[in-house]
Amino acid sequence: MQQPGRAAEIKAIGIGKSFGSFRALDNLSLDIGRGEFLTLLGPSGSGKTTFLMILAGFVQPTEGRLFSDGVDITDRPAEQRAAGMVFQGYALFPHMSVEANIAFPLKVRKKSAADIKRRVGEMIERVGLKGHEKKLPAQLSGGQQQRVALARALVFEPGVLLLDEPFSALDKGLRGQMQAEMKRLHQETGTTFVFVTHDQSEALALSSRVAIFNHGKLLQVGAPDEVYDRPDNRFVAEFLGEINMLPLKGVRPADNGSTGLCEDRAVSMHCKADLVRGDAILAIRPEYMSISGEAAAGENGIAATATNSTYLGAATRLDLTTRQGAKVTVSVPNEVAAAALSKGNSVWLTWPAEKGFLLPHGGQ
């Protein structure tokens, strides 16, 4: 964070934060790589924003240390850390023009007038605000205010850019546009981005890695496909998207994975059964399941009856109930759904062995 123009590498070791008796963050250790786009994802009150505020220096951790490029910055005040920050609601200076807002961090750093003019001009061009230089924030649309906030946070070339739910106030179309823009800015600047959101699709779409929080604990960190396809626990599995959970019995290791009994039928998984034995949960994302007349021998499959369908346009969402009463949801082509519903009696749900994964039985 101290060398402008260079992406910072951040290391958090055993960070904890208590507000009175409330434990906002518990023993968090996390490495944020140089130039990475890391998303902190979790429901509200999960500790993700507290961690961002600790990174920015606005909140002092109760325990643990924070390093930037190997230097301990735990006790350094926010104004000396100078991480770029984009706040929820943007927090622009309402009494300053677009230009003056963006020039603010450069003026604070006592850059020459010519230098400020040049860099502010470049930044305004880069975020597409040309022609709006003299306007006040109140005269801009939400998307434009967002651009000013990004420009102001990036103009002094901070080692890290911190973003606190920056898109929460934007409508859906604009949100997609701003996400693309942010991805471009990340590539262009090469700066480390740390982004807080509670929207899992946003997290999966934008980041190089996702860190999932709940109840003040960091549950899992990994690339989007890693956390989506191989969640460590039930919370992560459910938070990242819809998921079907089937009870499994007699889980044991097998050649190239594991096997178990699902409603009295043998199924196989590619994942290892080293953490769970006996009873477990088999989790499969709806889009990986398909419907067929019958399951071939050795294929993973379970019999179920379709109960309800929801037309989604490109596909149909089908709710089914298995013989032993487990509820399953799948997303299938429209004509497949119609056929399955018309049959009335049982169809077969099948899925590839590599798409199912094991979660411990019950709880987390």
Partner: protein
């Protein structure tokens, strides 16, 4: 629509007693004063003519404006400091600030003026102490002059400046201050370049309220000025009750009311009424 109409009728009924009182107690008598200013002692514009030529009236007008200006600057600056503590301080600091703001309201303006006389007079506490420690040999002239008047009025008016300032400071988004610090701005720089400009409407409101109140002040200048630094309200009193010159007193009153009215109109162009409380 019905609900809207009955709401408006209800509001009108609730406000009616106050409006009636204002008309009977202020507007009607004031029309009488206007009439005097054109008819006493002889009908015509003679009293307004005198206003423009009378040296005494003009010097009192100028002194009133000068004192009001100084009191405004000092009161708003002091109120700003107190309000920052009141709105943004620790709970203990807030309590102390609140005490300092509210207690003066419970003590009569007369009592407070005499309190200042006791402090500031030649044999008052301050002069006695300063002489006792050998800091001065002759007592300082702290009262019966403009200085005394300004001290007394400032003390009275600070609480009135606090409310519009507090309203402006409370509506300020804390994240904007965090943003400034996050962008590298020190606390002092953030205060002057972000906090103060963002409370501008509060500053304008506070200044206008204090200035308008100062123009019509009577008791405090009469006691602490000791008849030597007469302000406009005291001059009106003297013209009406001591020299039977009702016409001139009435004319000064009319000019003062018009001037204050113009200031209030200007104030409400910049500040919405609810920002003042």
């Amino acid at each position: 629509m019905r609900a809207y109409l009955s709401d408006r009728m209800g509001a009108a009924l609730l406000m009616a007693p106050l409006l009636l009182f204002l008309v009977l107690a202020y507007a009607w008598p004031f029309l009488g004063v206007v009439k005097w200013s054109f008819t006493l002692p002889t009908p015509g514009l003679g009293q307004y003519d005198a206003l423009l030529t009378d040296d005494l009236v003009q010097s009192v007008f100028i002194r009133t404006l000068r004192i009001a200006a100084v009191v405004t600057v000092v009161s708003v600056a002091a109120a700003y400091a107190i309000t920052v503590v009141w709105v943004r301080g620790t709970p203990a600091q807030r309590l102390i600030a609140e005490f300092c703001i509210l207690v003066p309201f419970w003590i009569s303006v007369l009592t407070r003026a005499f309190g200042w006389v006791a402090l500031l007079s030649n044999r008052g506490l301050i002069n006695t102490w300063l002489q006792a420690i050998g800091f001065i040999s002759e007592p300082l002239a702290l009262v019966r002059n403009e200085f005394g008047v300004i001290v007394g009025m400032t003390h009275f008016l600070i609480p009135f400046a606090v409310f519009p300032l507090a309203s402006a400071m409370r509506s300020l988004d804390d994240r904007v201050l965090l943003a400034a610090r996050g962008l590298g701005s020190s606390r002092i720089r953030t205060f002057w370049t972000v906090f103060v400009p963002m409370t501008r409407s509060g500053i304008i409101g506070a200044a206008m309220i204090v200035f308008v109140f100062s123009l019509g002040f009577f008791v405090t200048p009469a006691i602490l000025g000791g008849g030597r630094s007469v302000m406009i309200a005291e001059l009106i009193y003297l013209r009406i009750f001591q020299s039977p010159d009702w016409g001139l007193g009435a004319a000064i009153s009319v000019v003062l009311v018009l001037f204050v009215g113009a200031l209030m109109a200007l104030l409400f162009r910049y500040v919405r009424p609810k920002q003042l409380i």
